[in-house]
Symmetry: C2
């Protein structure tokens, strides 16, 4: 990535291009952003750049310690740096703990043991999130300054609590942009998104939309467990925090439910068809672009692959190193395929690296996936990479690790464009077989091309749709006409349990009275008979 | 309306404009149409004209006896006339019977008596529908001819059975375009559309999305009654017919469920926000256009209204006459308002007609509603008229009669841009009061303008969206990626009743065993105690 060059180019464009208007009305808006770090930021940044290009002023609230939000370089955004008491190193260490737990410990633990450990690790992140929130809500001068700015809208990510709280304090509408929450819990319980468990698999449950009896049962139980976990563990502390700050009893979920729009980073090329609401817009792949030419040296290497073509390999920005054993095994496998391999890897060069494999600190992933020589993509299954593969129609060998990755690869497998491997158990031959399958079995390429066609054949580009709805909320100070009345109902009213209870009670009473009447009549008749007999 | 002139103009445009492509690929499609008469046709025709203009060949299967589908005049469409054994007069008489029942008899009957009468009248239409179907499916030469044409797609309306059957016989995908079915029964049971009864009011139940306990109960019961009515009465005969024709056991509902897209003639300016599926697209108001200049005489009359402005009045194409008493009452009321009134009415001129009111056989409704002098619209509440009022932001006095009209007016009332009157009970003063309210209480105009803004502020125009998805289905021979897996489930699997039954049984068994164990232990302890005591 050359983000600095890209941003500079766009920024210059912005300055040079004297823009007359943003919304056709001559008025430009002011956008406040509560970002989430890592790949979330990479995706959101593109939306913000587009908003900047259209003349809106974008201010990002950024913690002084973060991974990828570079607030010191030249940028089209204004950064309001939030001084937090933790360092980038503390944050990175917590992330590494989390990754270690997910990759190496969780597979050997039961659900409950695993969850207990996850909750413990998550508590560290919660603490840092709260410290970030404190740096805004406990800073009256900053709040006053932000109020004075009269922002039109706040863009947030429900995975980073705080955005909706700041929006409430500033009394401005807010829009969410994100990929998912485990078990769609936030979308369902706070956003009102319906998810019939018979054909809507809970995200991260690893199921598809075609479920057997046992799978449907698993799905229901998974939904129920997530609901309890979120309500009783993850949200409880936050709800108290929100109530304290706002000075009235509320919950995190209730505040989240006030989002005007939920911009979800997937689309029907990826999702299993499911019910959704008018204030949910699926804008997956908004960051995808046609491939640009490769650097000269890289292009030469790619061209040297001849008819066999190349394989692109990256495990994303979070995994920089593998264990020595794993990296040697992987390199050995790659050395045995006829394709040339471009591997993004920051660890020590493996001893078994073949002549056909080159290791890079960084690769222009989108440009490589869009290259005509590319035959397959080995990926951890992050949403951004998955969408680049869909965009360019490239089959996938998925080695998912954590978060949405297992779910992403499950989707791609179900849609017939991916083979899945398990990093913990895979052998060199498994990787070779998987690559041979997706490259030589034509159905994988065909399915990838089919999904690519679906992705490209939309009424409107995803980035344009995302920007349209953000601007819509600014123009109309909300999007209340898209908000379902479900938000006004309690959970038992929503499921009509009160009505059903009443109807059942009524029916039971009717049956009871009927039976009693019958008994009474029978007795009466019996007595008359007895009397007659006695007479 | 001057349909002939309009069609001629568009047709000439089509011939003159040498179109290079339809889908950007140089290929134009062939569209077969199974239309529904009256206002449905007026709306669909605009979509078909747009498809024609984009270079697609449109063939309409039209019964020789119909109301508004003029197959003898010059047209951009090819008409395949289906010789049916009934005449236009029989059809009109059946319609009048239906209207009489709905307007004057139903209000005085109980639900069950009313339904019995409706079912009886509907049987006449079913018979005519079947005769229309027979004219295709029992005509092997026509079927062979249609097969030879190699159509890419069939457009149908679920309210006129037969379209989906013809599509099945020709083995081509089909798309629905319509407003609604009573209680959303077809959309729910056949299309898989979820409708939580707690906040999604059954269409034609007259409720809104904010329901009290009693209203939610009414809604649930209404849904259930409609399900029984459709399954046991309306669909039974058709399911047999479809099974006979296709030579395999099937149902009407199963066949309808194969629709690739459901293009619904409403949008979120009109609908209460509700869950929907990716293969449902809301394209309401696709027929609306900016107002064109009025005929000279009409413009003069409108201008003569001064600052008071005008009122536009039409009860639609189905009601040509009122009883003499009613028309005199209405005319008397209109004579007492300061506005000028343009009334579309074909009956005898009422004796009480005021100098401020002019009666017309036909009015350019859309152009009048878009005129700056227009203050209010008195309408029966047909979807087309409602959308013209929304498009131009004109408050409504609704006098609903049948079909979707009561529901349409209920929506407009709930959104604050309409007052409702009952044709059977209203007095002259009620009409005067209603007009004064919507004209002088500014909230009605404000709400109308708010809905108008929502309508105009869409990412893409409704007509363009409708055409996009029709062309999408042609390009990809379907839209399977938007079809939920719910269609593969039985009703009890869909609601997970089998899983719930299993879990309840399992829990009951566990409790039973636990209780038995306790009892056993207690007994054992009891015996030991006894023994000890005895010792």
């Amino acid at each position: 990535m050359r983000p600095a060059a890209m941003v500079l180019k766009k920024w210059l464009l912005l300055v040079l291009w004297v823009q007359e208007c943003c919304w056709g009305s001559g008025a430009c808006g002011k956008v406040l952003v509560w970002p989430t770090d890592a790949s979330h930021w990479l995706n959101l940044k593109l939306v913000l750049e587009e908003l900047s290009l259209r003349g809106h002023a974008v201010t990002v609230l950024v913690p002084s310690a973060n991974l990828l939000i570079d607030y010191e370089s030249f940028s089209p955004f204004t950064f309001e740096v939030l001084p937090v008491p933790f360092t980038k190193e503390t944050f990175t260490a917590a992330l590494e703990d989390f990754l270690r737990l997910w990759l190496y410990e969780l597979p050997n633990l039961s659900y409950w043991e695993g969850m207990a450990k996850v909750v413990k690790v998550m508590a560290v992140f919660t603490e840092m999130s709260k410290q970030t929130c404190d740096s805004v809500v406990l800073n009256p001068r900053l709040i006053a300054k932000l109020r004075q700015e009269e922002f039109d809208l706040l863009i947030s990510d429900p995975l980073s609590p705080g955005g909706e709280l700041v929006a409430e304090l500033l009394e401005i509408p807010f829009v969410y942009t994100f990929r998912f929450s485990e078990g769609n819990t936030m979308e369902r319980l706070c956003g009102g998104l319906p998810a019939p468990p018979s054909y809507v698999p809970a995200i991260a449950g690893g199921l598809t939309d075609r479920m057997s009896f046992v799978e449907r049962m698993k799905n229901i139980i998974f939904y129920a467990l997530q609901d309890v976990l979120f309500h009783q563990v993850f949200w409880r502390e936050w709800s108290q925090y929100y109530s304290d700050v706002l000075g009235r009893p509320t919950t995190l979920c209730e505040t989240m439910g006030k989002a005007e729009m939920w911009l979800i980073r997937t689309y029907w090329d990826f999702e299993f068809p499911r019910p959704f609401l008018p204030n949910f817009e699926f804008v997956g792949g908004l960051h995808c672009q046609p491939a640009k030419p490769l650097p000269e040296e890289m292009e030469e290497f790619v061209q040297s692959s001849g008819e066999h073509g190349i394989v692109v390999f990256s495990l994303g920005s979070m995994i920089n190193n593998l264990t020595e054993e794993k990296s040697n095994m992987v390199a050995l496998a790659l050395s045995q395929i006829p394709q040339k391999v471009l591997w993004r890897y920051k660890g020590r060069k493996p001893d078994t690296l073949g002549a056909n494999t080159r290791v890079y600190d960084w690769i222009p992933q989108n440009d490589l996936l869009g290259h005509p020589k590319t035959k397959a993509f080995i990926t951890h299954g992050g949403t951004n990479g998955i969408y680049e593969a869909i965009y360019h129609g490239i089959p996938i060998v998925g080695i998912p690790m954590f978060a949405d990755q297992p779910d992403n690869i499950a989707h791609m497998k179900a849609k017939g464009m991916a083979v899945e491997l398990d990093l913990n158990t895979m052998k060199a031959q498994d990787l070779i077989d998987a690559l041979n399958t997706v490259i030589n079995n034509s159905s994988y390429k065909e399915n990838a091309m089919r999904l690519s066609q679906i992705h490209h054949d939309q009424p409107m580009k995803p980035l344009d749709r995302a920007v349209f709805w953000i601007e819509f909320v600014m123009r109309h100070k909300g999007a209340k006409h898209l908000r379902p009345a479900a938000h006004q109902l309690t959970w038992y009213q929503y499921h009509c349990l009160d009505v059903l209870a009443f109807l059942v009670a009524w029916a039971a009473a009717a049956v009871f009275i009927a039976v009693k009447c019958c008994c009474f009549c029978c007795k009466k008749c019996g007595r008359i008979d007895k009397k007659k007999k006695m007479e």
